[in-house]
Structure formats: structure tokens, C-alpha cells
């Protein structure tokens, strides 16, 4: 097993001779996307024309399907099959190869036992989408409903410790808090939120003998492949799962849903390709969501601001049969110094759709609490919020005592303060007016963990010099295609145009997929390893080839650059070498595993958000006026796509602070907002003058390239900066997100 010490040596990435690493090159697949020719899962061309599947959802939250009458639907024009719990084909148990913490959808698909509103109970396939929809409306169900626990706030008394988890304690929190001269004890609420990816879940499936091919919209290739194989009760080798382009994931497409299961089952039954897409309403009711979290923060400080006691306790919810904990307190374990500490989670089980990971699970909701609490404590102490954080900056991880791999939080805050003009903030709320608007400034820190998972990649060079990287990795809009092309080109010293990247196929060497901000580091490190192995193979090929100008040279002295392989001033183009010495091409694989000592370091990405808002004191409307973030996230691979990722995350924070929430209808267990008119994601007019910058950083404890993730850091803390700006603008301290006009009006002093 490797050590982080192995990662400190110079590499083609750190040397960056062609300058491709960090360069803001255009998106690899960008041309396909701006011309509308990137085929998403529902648009893939099947070997023969597909039939259309439509799902029918349960209108009750808990109970059983007592009876189903499919006769009218079966007789409707164009109908090929109608399935209900009573006639759906047998499906295997999922689980053996699944992550046991997965928030899997209903299992099996079309189960007669109903566990949440919107669970699918029927499925119709017809020759056209119109016929399938019309027939679906003709299926008649009878239900035997049972009492259901639907409302989080009504069930807080049953909150329990998540299985296998314990509170984290350092020192004696209770005693230290009781004795602290300055104390804060407040509860903050982050609401239930939905991913609202633009592309609904979709699958196109067809069979060739006993092998099935599915094109589906999923973030994790292997997980989807194994899940489907288990469901179909066939070996994984008979399932090919392809996911080339994904119209947004954000954690919500980390798992397989009923579109995948039923498209594959129906295609087998009919001997014809079948495609199935969720409706927008089904995306809300029958996938996963970010659960609501109640967070109690207790801070006990000395008069100079140093924290003696810190506690963050989070209560959240999940679906009864799909345990998942929104770890809203975890981030705080590494953020601020305090000798006496308590963090923990409690879970309420409900009969509503499954909770699951959504962009920066834990941090996105958790930081909404602590980063406001720090603002409140700063005011109590008469300190600037940045100064309070500086006084609680730890030298080592405050919980474990481990050294930080890198930590530039202080620089993020000070650099951001200077560039944003933080010194213009009046600490007294409600003092600045611009016409009808009360104007305020707020800030918050950002932290998000860094991870590296095992992954493989394959790379080949053909006789024409084309280098093709292949990996069972996904690009959900994050820029994976692009950064893998940059890494491969820089590693092998070839122009970017010489590199092809092929992703999203279970036939390719496996990578864990997109999630947890680990994608670039994990997939990229494997691609880098594959590239290094190809360098080695080509060096040996050249130095062993009597017709090569490098014949007889030491392979260790071979260099790559400008499309050439060389020793000193003897060189030849790669394509000439390969065409002559290995005309069938050269293929190698590479892999990455976490270093044995990686956990000896506390590894995170950091940032600081600064926001300026206007509050209309008559309507309670809050408008963003300006937002700026400074981030430190290791070596940046692509200035353009990384910036898009980080500002995209910040904009999610704007939505979190001002617009986004969902509620459960106590009558039915459905979500009140179930489309994009009811669930308000930020629109273009909501986002004004928003930008960010990255600090220079290389984290040589993170992976061989010193990179980290940027996909989730941008949302961490962003909403709290806006809430703090709202308080500064008008004196309304709102601890229940989002800060919509009715709450602002009610809270105005």
C-alpha cells in the first residue's frame, strides 16, 4: 500500500510542461451540448424502435394495493403490457452487492406494500407515449390504507440515535458550557429540499439474448449495474450499463430507480427496446430528497471570544425502511477550536419518500446553523465575525489532534474580506439604506471534507497516435471528461486534441462515480496512474526497438513532450513509434488506492463567503446584491470548469437561504411542491454579481496530483452568509430557513 510520502515527488502534473493543468480549456463535450447532439439516456438510439413505458404512482402513504383492475388499460389502443403488484415479474432481492446504507427505491419495483406516497404501483407500456399515458389513466386500484407517520415536527419524540453511531465527545461539554461567561443556545432549522436536476431519471433498455444493455441516468456505474443484475437475477457480466451524459445529479442519481428496473424487465418481456422516464412530479415524489434538520447549537466562550464549549446536535428524518442520516454535525468536528465538544445526530423514521444525499450532505444544512451562531456570538462579544473565527482557529484538528494536510481558512477569510470590502460593514444592523432597500453584509466560513476512493482507468494509444482514456466514471456536468483529457494529455506530453475520453460504461475499468466531491481526485488519480503506466510501456517499447532513435537507452531517462518520445535530443513522434513497433496499439491500466497513512491527516477543502443583500422592509423581500467567495481546494485542474462548479454551489446556497423548501401534506404524505413552479430553484434574475476565486494550493497528502474536489464546497456555508447579511441589513435574525418574505416581515424589529 502506498504512503502519502510517495505523492510528494515531482510528476508530469506538478511539472505541467505544456501548461494544460489548470488551464481553462473549453469543455471536452461542450460542442455536443451546445448543438443538442449529446444523447441523454432517453434519447439513445436503440437497435429497433422502442416502446414507451409510463409509471403510475400510489396516492396513499402506507398500506397495500388490495386490488387492481387492468382490463380497460389492456384494451386501450397500442398497449403492450400493464403491470401492477399482482402481475409484475419476479425480481431478486437487492442488497448483497449494494451499499447497505443506500437509500434504494421501492424493492421490488411495483411492490404491493406501500411505504410512501408516490411509490410506483403500476406500469404501462404502449407503442407511443400518448397511448401509454392514456392507458395508465385507465388502471383502477383499490388500497387498504394504514396509519402513517408523516410530519417530522410531530414525531420528534421518537428521535433515536442512528444505528451504529455514537455522539462524539471531547472534554466535558456540559460543565464547560455551564461555566462559560458568554453563552449562546439556539436552534436552527434547515428544511426538506429537492435536487430538481433538469433531466428527469430515464432509461432505455434492450436485450440481446440473455444480455441486457441499459442506457440510464445514474451517477454510479457499478452500483447501477450490480443492482440491476440482482433485480433481474442474472450475473453482472450480463448487464451492460451505459451513462454517457447525465443532466444533473447532485447526489439524487446515485442509485437506481424504477425506470431502470422496469425498462429492463419490460424489454425482456416484449422482446423490444423499452424506454421509461420519470415525470417532473415523480422526480419529487419517488426519488430522494435532503431531509429537514433541526440543529441545536450551544457555544460557551470567554470574554475574549475563545470557545470553551461547543455543541452541535442535529435531529433529522429518513424513510422508515431506508435508514439514512444527514450528518449535519460532522463538519463542525474539524472547524473551530474548543476544548470541550459534543456533536451527534438523532433520527426520526417517517413514512415519506426516502431521504438521501444531496450536494454536500451534512455541510449544506449543517453550516446553516453554526455559521449563523458564530455571527450571533460575535455580536454578543462585540467582535467582528471574522475576528471571532480567527480567535478560534485551531492549529491541529480540534477533535482528533491530527495535523491538517492543508488549511487556508484564515487566508480565505482575510483575502475575501479585503476584496469584498468587508471593512465597509456597519456592525449595527439596520443602518444602511439604498432607496427602499435596507442593505447589509454577511459572511460565513466553508469547510467540506476531502476523500479518495479506489479506482481504475485504462488508456490506449493507437497507431495514428490517438490516445483514448476509458473509465467507468461519470460526468454529471462537473467537467470530468475535460479534466481527464487534460490529465492524460499533460501526463503523456501530447496536445489535448490527440486525447479521447470515453466514460460511463460498465465495460470500462471501474471508478466509483460522481459524488461526495471525490470524483476528480479519484477518477483523475487513476487516469494519471494509467498515463504513467503508458509512459513506462512506451519507454520500454522505444528503447527495445532497434529501429527507434532511442534504442538501447535507459527507459528511466525517456521524456515525453510535444507529442514526442525522447532521450536528450533524440526523439520521434509517438505515432511513428507505435505504428512501427506496436501497430495493434498499446493498452495499459492504472489504479489508485487511498494511501495507508492518509487518515493520519485531517483533510478538507475550505472557503469563505461574503454576501450583500437588500431587504425591503415593507414586503419582506430579500434580494441578493453581491456575493463573493474565496476557496482553497488543492490544485485546480481547469480554471473554467472549477469556477463553474464553485459558483454553481454558491448559487445553491442562495436558493437554500431564500427560496428552497418543501413540506409534507399531512393528509396524504405527498410533497406540497411537486414541480418547478412550486419548488423555487434560483432563476436567472435571482443571481446578481456573483463571483469567486481560488487560492493557490497543492495538497500533497490528498493524492498523487495534489488536487481536491470543488463540487460541494461552494454550497457549504453559503446560505449562512446570506442569512447573516439579512440580519445585518434589517435586524431580523431568522433561524428557520428559507428566509422568505413572511418570515422576514414577522422578524423585523
Amino acid at each position: 500500500m502506498s504512503s502519502v510520502k510517495d505523492w510528494a515527488a515531482p510528476t508530469p502534473i506538478s511539472e505541467n510542461r505544456s501548461g494544460l493543468i489548470g488551464k481553462g480549456v473549453d469543455r471536452y463535450e461542450g460542442r455536443l451540448k451546445v448543438t443538442g447532439s449529446a444523447p441523454f439516456a432517453y434519447e439513445v438510439e436503440a437497435p429497433s424502435p422502442p416502446a414507451y413505458g409510463v409509471l403510475i404512482a400510489s396516492p396513499i402513504a402506507k398500506g397495500v394495493v388490495a386490488a387492481a383492475d387492468i382490463s380497460a388499460a389492456q384494451a386501450a389502443p397500442g398497449v403492450r403490457l400493464v403491470w401492477t403488484p399482482h402481475n409484475v415479474p419476479a425480481q431478486g432481492e437487492r442488497g448483497a452487492k449494494m451499499n447497505p446504507r443506500s437509500q434504494r427505491g421501492s424493492n421490488p419495483a411495483l411492490a404491493g406494500k406501500i411505504e410512501h406516497f408516490g411509490q410506483h404501483v403500476g406500469f404501462v407500456v404502449a407503442d407511443t407515449l400518448e397511448n401509454a399515458k392514456a392507458a395508465a389513466a385507465l388502471v383502477r386500484f383499490e388500497y387498504a390504507a394504514e396509519p402513517a407517520d408523516l410530519i417530522f415536527e410531530d414525531n420528534l419524540a421518537q428521535a433515536d440515535q442512528p444505528e451504529g453511531e455514537e455522539d462524539m465527545r471531547v472534554g466535558d461539554f456540559e460543565a464547560a458550557f455551564a461555566g462559560a461567561p458568554v453563552r449562546l443556545d439556539e436552534t436552527y432549522v434547515s428544511p426538506l429540499q429537492n435536487h430538481a436536476q433538469m433531466e428527469p431519471c430515464a432509461t432505455t433498455a434492450w436485450w440481446d439474448g440473455d444480455h441486457v444493455t441499459v442506457h440510464t441516468s445514474i451517477q454510479m456505474v457499478k452500483g447501477g449495474q450490480h443492482t440491476l443484475a440482482e433485480t433481474l437475477m442474472i450475473p453482472s457480466t450480463q448487464v451492460r450499463l451505459v451513462t454517457r451524459y447525465i443532466g444533473g445529479g447532485f447526489g439524487g442519481k446515485g442509485q437506481a430507480y424504477d425506470d431502470l428496473t422496469l425498462a429492463a424487465l419490460a424489454a425482456r418481456e416484449l422482446g423490444q427496446p423499452v424506454k421509461v422516464a420519470y415525470t417532473r412530479q415523480q422526480m419529487f415524489q419517488a426519488t430522494i430528497h435532503r431531509p429537514a434538520v433541526h440543529m441545536r447549537v450551544r457555544l460557551g466562550a470567554q470574554a475574549d471570544g475563545r470557545l470553551d464549549a461547543f455543541a452541535l446536535e442535529a435531529v433529522t428524518h429518513c424513510r422508515r425502511e431506508a435508514p439514512f442520516t444527514e450528518h449535519a454535525a460532522n463538519f463542525a468536528r474539524s472547524l473551530y477550536a474548543a476544548p470541550n465538544r459534543l456533536t451527534g445526530h438523532r433520527l426520526v423514521k417517517l413514512d415519506i419518500p426516502a431521504a438521501g444525499p444531496m450536494r454536500a450532505p451534512g455541510e449544506a444544512s449543517g453550516m446553516l446553523s453554526l455559521e449563523c451562531a458564530m455571527d450571533e456570538l460575535a455580536e454578543k462579544l462585540g467582535l467582528d465575525p471574522i475576528e471571532l473565527r480567527l480567535r478560534n482557529e485551531p492549529e491541529t484538528d480540534p477533535e482528533t489532534g491530527k495535523p491538517f494536510s492543508t488549511r487556508q481558512l484564515v487566508r480565505c477569510m482575510t483575502e475575501g474580506a479585503q476584496r469584498f470590502g468587508w471593512d465597509r460593514r456597519n456592525p449595527k444592523p439596520g443602518q444602511v439604506r439604498d432607496g427602499r432597500w435596507l442593505v447589509g453584509l454577511g459572511m460565513a466560513a466553508a469547510i467540506r471534507g476531502n476523500f479518495l476512493l479506489p479506482a481504475k482507468a485504462g488508456v490506449r494509444i493507437d497507431a495514428d497516435g490517438t490516445i483514448t482514456l476509458r473509465q467507468g466514471m461519470t460526468d454529471i456536468g462537473t467537467g470530468t471528461y475535460t479534466i481527464l483529457a487534460q490529465i492524460t494529455a499533460e501526463t503523456l506530453g501530447v496536445p489535448l486534441a490527440q486525447v479521447k475520453v470515453e466514460l460511463g460504461d460498465s465495460d470500462f475499468p471501474p471508478a466509483p462515480g460522481s459524488g461526495g466531491q471525490f470524483g476528480a481526485a479519484t477518477a483523475g488519480s487513476a487516469a494519471f496512474a494509467a498515463g504513467m503506466n503508458l509512459r513506462k510501456a512506451l519507454a520500454e517499447l522505444a528503447t527495445g526497438d532497434p529501429n527507434s532513435p532511442l534504442y538501447g537507452d535507459d527507459p528511466e531517462l525517456v521524456t515525453f513532450g510535444g507529442g514526442n518520445i525522447a532521450v536528450d535530443n533524440r526523439a520521434e513522434p509517438l505515432e511513428r513509434l507505435v505504428a512501427r513497433a506496436a501497430p495493434e496499439g498499446v493498452y495499459v491500466e492504472g489504479s489508485i488506492t487511498p494511501a495507508a497513512d492518509a487518515r493520519d491527516y485531517s483533510q478538507h477543502t475550505y472557503g469563505a463567503h461574503f454576501a450583500e443583500v437588500g431587504v425591503d422592509p415593507d414586503t419582506g423581500e430579500v434580494r441578493l446584491r453581491r456575493m463573493f467567495g474565496v476557496f482553497a481546494a488543492g490544485r485546480i485542474l481547469n480554471a473554467k470548469t472549477a469556477m463553474s462548479q464553485i459558483t454553481g454551489g454558491m448559487i445553491w446556497g442562495v436558493g437554500t437561504a431564500l427560496h428552497e423548501y418543501n413540506e409534507v401534506d399531512p393528509r396524504y404524505g405527498s410533497f406540497i411542491a411537486q414541480d418547478l413552479a412550486g419548488y423555487h430553484v434560483p432563476a436567472h434574475a435571482d443571481i446578481v454579481d456573483l463571483s469567486a476565486m481560488f487560492l493557490d494550493e497543492v495538497d500533497d497528502k490528498a493524492n498523487p496530483m495534489g488536487i481536491k474536489g470543488v463540487g460541494e464546497l461552494g454550497i457549504a456555508g453559503a446560505g449562512a452568509a446570506i442569512a447573516n447579511a439579512v440580519y445585518n441589513a434589517c435586524g431580523a435574525r431568522i433561524r428557520d430557513y428559507p428566509l422568505n418574505p413572511e418570515k422576514v416581515l414577522a422578524a423585523l424589529p
Binding site: G24, D26, R27, G30, R31, L32, K33, V34, T35, G36, S37, A38, P39, F40, Y42, E43, T128, L129, E130, A134, H195, A196, Q197, M198, E199, P200, Y245, I246, G247, G248, G249, A277, T279, R280, I476, G477, T478, G479, K640, T641, M643, S644, Q645, T647, G648, G649, M650, I651, W652, D675, L676, A677, V681, P682, A683, H684, A685, I687, V688, L690
Partner: protein, 167 residues
């Protein structure tokens, strides 16, 4: 119902189910899958196409109502290898991530620039008697019918300014 229209300069004649939306006709009958279905309810704008030069949500329009219309989709914008200036600007400014809303954003931009050139006002227009000036605020308001969950709005604004000669 037999319906005739022009799509991306080509005459098309389809025998259509009257329930078929323009979006489904494009995607499922004409193999023009660039126009996207994000909500099917006119809320997200991913299906935006140009009909007789004006932007509409193709999911809210029944295909049979377009007899004789000239329809332009994302597939009809580039001239061979040469991208339409709006497409090129979106690529250069990284005005998208996952790319699912992008065809709608691009078609909407083209329609919006024409609306502004024709003097149409928006909610952000202060003086209805003056010539329309596409300020940033105007662009944001006029493009708010096209949602981007990846949240590429700052880059979309930059691309539109560049393509519209407003930079």
C-alpha cells in the same frame, strides 16, 4: 392528423396524434432530440424552440397547431461545422455544466435578442418609451424562464453579452 411545417429549413409532413406536443413530435417522431423535456409543464424552459422566429415552450404546444409554421430547433443553428455565435459564446464562457437546459437557453437567447431588437419591453424596463437597452438586469429578467439547476447563470449572462455584442 396530417400536419405540414418547416423544420430547420426542411419541409416536414407528419401524421400526428392530436395529443402529441410539439416537443414530443420533435423528439420522438423527427429524431430531433436536442430540445429537452425537463418538466413538460412550461416551467423550466429546456424545450424552448423558435417558431416563426419567436421563442416558445414546445412542451406546451400541440404539434397539430403548427400547420405551416417555420420551426427552428437547436439542431438548426450551426452552419455545418460553424457554430451559431450564441452557441460559440456558450462554449467559450462555459455557460452550462450538465448541458440539459442548454439547447433551451440558446434558443431562448436568440429569441430574446430579437425581442429586444424589436423593442419589446420586460418587467425590468424602466422607460417604455425609450429604445430597449439590454442591461444585465434586462438580460437576467428576460432569461428567467430558462432554469439552470447547475446554476451557470453568471456564465450564461457573460455568453449572452458576448454574443449579443453587449460585452
Amino acid at each position: 392528423m396530417k400536419t405540414h411545417f418547416t423544420i430547420n429549413g426542411q419541409a416536414a409532413s407528419l401524421d400526428l396524434d392530436p395529443r402529441t406536443t410539439l416537443l414530443d413530435a420533435l423528439r420522438e417522431r423527427l429524431d430531433l432530440k436536442g430540445s429537452k423535456k425537463g418538466c413538460d409543464h412550461g416551467q423550466c424552459g429546456a424545450c424552448t424552440v423558435l417558431v416563426n422566429g419567436q421563442r416558445i415552450n414546445a412542451c406546451l404546444s400541440l404539434a397539430v397547431t403548427h400547420e405551416g409554421d417555420e420551426i427552428t430547433t437547436i439542431e438548426g443553428l450551426a452552419q455545418g461545422e460553424a457554430l451559431h455565435p450564441v452557441q460559440a459564446a456558450f462554449l467559450e464562457h462555459d455557460a452550462f455544466q450538465c448541458g440539459y437546459c442548454t439547447p433551451g437557453q440558446i434558443c431562448s437567447t436568440i429569441g430574446m435578442l430579437k425581442e429586444a431588437a424589436d423593442g419589446w419591453a420586460s418587467l425590468a424596463t424602466d422607460d417604455l418609451t425609450a429604445d430597449t437597452v439590454l442591461t444585465d438586469e434586462e438580460i437576467r429578467e428576460r432569461m428567467s424562464g430558462n432554469l439552470c439547476r447547475c446554476s451557470a447563470y453568471p456564465q450564461i449572462l457573460a455568453a449572452i453579452r458576448s454574443a449579443g455584442g453587449l460585452a
